[in-house]
C-alpha cells in the first residue's frame, strides 16, 4: 500500500527526538468569545509534530478552523490554551523564521513589484545585498520585466507570484501557506503548484499548506493532516510516499487520493458523536 495511515500518538519524546521536530503543537485549544459570555470553540486539543523539511498539508472542509490554526502557528493569533513551539521555542508573536502567505496576494497597491517583494526585508532592516536577493526571486518566480509594474496592472496569477516571492525572499525556515492558489484558474494553479514544489525541493524549508482540495493535498504534501469536526480536531495524519514530481494522471496518485477520501470518511464516522 502506498499510503500508510498513521494514528497520532502524543508521547513525551526524549530531548534528542525533540531536536528533529521543527514545529510541535501540544493540547492547543482556540475559542472566540461571543456576546453574553458565551464562546465559540474552533480548535480542540490539537496535537501535531512537524519535522524539519516536511511539506505538511492541512486538509479540511471550508470554515473548519484551518486558517485559524495557521494564524496561531504564525503568531498572529494567540491560542486560548496549549502551546506551539518552533525549534523548541514557544511562539508568542510573529517570528523571523516563519513567513506566511495569505489567501489573497495582499500586495500593497502603492508599491511596484520590486518594492512589494523587498517590503519585508526593508521593514526588518535587512538591506544588505537586498537588490541581489530580490532580483534572484524575481527571476525564480518568472517576474522579469514586471519589476516596475504596479499590482493593479498584474493578473491574479502574477500577483500570486509576487506575493510568493515576497515571502520567499525572507528565506523562511517555516513557510505557512493559507490556500494560496484557491482563486487561480486550473492552469495557473497547476503551474504554480509545480514551481512551489521545485522551490521547496531546492530551498528545503518546512511548509505547512492549508487546503480543502484533496487532489492538491496529495499532489504537494509528504504528509496530510486531516482536520474535522466541530470544534475542529486532528482526525488523522497520513504519510504520502510518492516521489516528486507527481502527476495528476499517475495511477499511484489516483490510488492515493482514493485512499485518503476513504480514510476521511472513516475518520468522520469514527469521530462522529
Amino acid at each position: 500500500m502506498i499510503c500508510a495511515t498513521l494514528s497520532i500518538d502524543v508521547v513525551s519524546p526524549s530531548p534528542e527526538c525533540r531536536d528533529l521536530m521543527k514545529i510541535r503543537i501540544e493540547h492547543l485549544d482556540k475559542y472566540f468569545p461571543l456576546p453574553a459570555g458565551r464562546r465559540l470553540p474552533v480548535l480542540e486539543d490539537i496535537n501535531l509534530e512537524i519535522q524539519k523539511g516536511d511539506f505538511v498539508m492541512v486538509l479540511g472542509q471550508s470554515g473548519c478552523g484551518k486558517s485559524t490554526l495557521l494564524n496561531i502557528i504564525g503568531g498572529l493569533i494567540a491560542p486560548s490554551s496549549g502551546t506551539v513551539q518552533v525549534d523548541g521555542q514557544p511562539i508568542s508573536g510573529p517570528h523571523r523564521s516563519i513567513t506566511m502567505h495569505f489567501q489573497e496576494p495582499t500586495l500593497l497597491p502603492w508599491l511596484d513589484v520590486k518594492d512589494n517583494i523587498a517590503f519585508g526585508c526593508r521593514i526588518r532592516g535587512e538591506t544588505d545585498d537586498l537588490e541581489y536577493r530580490v532580483n534572484e526571486f524575481i527571476e525564480m518566480m518568472g517576474l522579469s520585466g514586471f519589476e516596475k509594474s504596479h499590482p493593479a496592472e498584474l493578473s491574479i496569477g502574477m500577483a500570486c507570484r509576487v506575493s510568493l516571492a515576497r515571502a520567499l525572499v525572507a528565506r523562511p525556515e517555516v513557510f505557512l501557506l493559507d490556500e494560496p492558489f484557491a482563486s487561480l484558474d486550473t492552469f495557473t494553479r497547476s503551474r504554480l503548484q509545480e514551481e512551489l514544489i521545485n522551490i521547496w525541493l531546492s530551498e528545503g524549508f518546512t511548509a505547512v499548506f492549508v487546503t480543502h482540495d484533496i487532489a492538491e493535498a496529495v499532489l504537494l504534501g509528504n504528509r496530510i493532516v486531516l482536520l474535522g469536526g466541530q470544534p475542529c480536531r486532528v482526525m488523522d495524519t497520513i504519510a504520502i510516499d510518492l516521489a516528486y514530481p507527481r502527476r495528476l494522471t499517475d495511477e499511484s496518485f489516483f490510488q492515493c487520493k482514493k485512499n485518503i477520501l476513504e480514510s476521511f470518511k472513516t475518520s468522520l464516522e469514527r469521530n462522529a458523536p
Binding site: 506566511m100 496576494p105 500586495l107 519585508g120 515576497r166
Partner: protein, 271 residues
C-alpha cells in the same frame, strides 16, 4: 469622394474630451443667458438702473479690467496665502488626529460625539471668539479657516484609516513590522487617497469660508474687494470679483483632482 470622419478613439467609459467640452460650453452659455434674462428683468425696472453693473456685459468688461489690475492679483495672493496657512494648520493638527482616531477604536468612541458636534457649528460662529483670542485680523481669519476645515480632514482621514485592508496589516506584522512601522508603512500610505479627498473637501470649505472671513477688518483679499466694491457702488466690479472667486476655486479644485488622478493605484487596486 469619401469623407473620412475624424477618426478619434472614444474611451469605453465616457465621451471624447471634445464632446465633453462642447457640453460644458453649452451649459455655461445657458447659465450666462439665464443670468442675462433674470438680470434684465430685475434691473430694467425704473429706479434700478444703477444696478445694471450686475449684468453679464458690464461684469465681463470689469472682469477683463480686474485681471489686468495688479491690485486684484495682490488680493488674490493674500486670500490664497490665508487659505494655505489655515489649511496647513488644519492638516498639521487634523491628519495625526484622524490617523489616531481611525487606528484606535477607543479614541474614536471617545471623540466621535465632540467631532460630530463641532462639525455642525458654522465656522463663522467662531468669529467673535476669534477676534477675542487673536490680536490681528490676519490670525483671526486663519483661525476661522482652520476651524472650518479641520473636521472634514479628521473625519475623512479616520474613515480611511479604519478601512485599511486588515490583511495588509497582518502581512506587515508577519513580516516583522512593529506598531510604528504598521502605521507609517501601511496605514498612512494606504490612506493617501482619503487624505487627498479630505484635501479636496477642505479646500472647498476653506474657499467658501474665506470670503465672509475677509469681511473682518482686513484691507486685502477677495472678500475685502467685494466689500470695497459694494461701498463704492461699483457693481460691475463686485460681480467681476464674484466670478473671479469662482474661477480661482475651480482651478484649485482641479489641481487636487489632477493629483488624485495621477495616483495610479487610486480606486481599483488588486490587493
Amino acid at each position: 469622394m469619401s469623407v473620412v470622419a475624424n477618426n478619434v478613439i472614444t474611451p469605453p467609459n465616457g465621451q471624447h474630451w471634445l464632446v465633453r467640452f462642447c457640453y460644458s460650453f453649452l451649459g455655461g452659455l445657458l447659465s450666462v443667458a439665464l443670468w442675462a434674462i433674470i438680470g434684465h428683468m430685475l434691473f430694467s425696472r425704473p429706479g434700478y438702473e444703477q444696478f445694471s453693473g450686475f449684468l453679464p456685459g458690464p461684469a465681463a468688461r470689469a472682469l477683463a479690467r480686474l485681471f489686468l489690475d495688479s491690485r486684484f492679483w495682490l488680493s488674490a495672493a493674500a486670500s490664497l496665502s490665508r487659505v494655505v496657512v489655515g489649511l496647513s494648520v488644519a492638516f498639521a493638527l487634523g491628519l495625526p488626529a484622524g490617523v489616531l482616531i481611525g487606528y484606535y477604536r477607543r479614541l474614536s468612541l471617545t471623540t466621535d460625539l465632540s467631532v460630530q458636534f463641532l462639525r455642525m457649528v458654522s465656522p463663522l460662529a467662531w468669529m467673535p471668539v476669534a477676534l477675542l483670542i487673536f490680536k490681528s485680523f490676519e490670525s483671526a481669519i486663519d483661525f476661522l479657516i482652520t476651524m472650518a476645515t479641520i473636521w472634514p480632514i479628521i473625519l475623512t482621514t479616520a474613515a480611511g484609516v479604519s478601512r485599511v485592508n486588515p490583511q495588509w496589516i497582518n502581512m506587515a506584522r508577519d513580516q516583522g513590522a512593529r506598531d510604528r512601522q504598521v502605521l507609517t508603512k501601511i496605514v498612512v500610505p494606504a490612506c493617501v487617497p482619503h487624505i487627498l479627498t479630505s484635501l479636496r473637501l477642505a479646500l472647498g470649505v476653506a474657499w467658501i469660508v474665506l470670503v465672509p472671513a475677509e469681511f473682518l477688518g482686513v484691507s486685502s483679499g477677495l472678500g475685502y474687494l467685494i466689500n470695497d466694491a459694494r461701498d463704492t457702488m461699483e457693481y460691475d466690479r463686485l460681480m467681476a470679483v464674484v466670478i473671479a472667486i469662482g474661477i480661482l476655486g475651480f482651478f484649485l479644485d482641479g489641481a487636487v483632482r489632477l493629483a488624485m488622478k495621477r495616483l495610479k493605484w487610486y480606486g481599483d487596486a488588486r490587493t
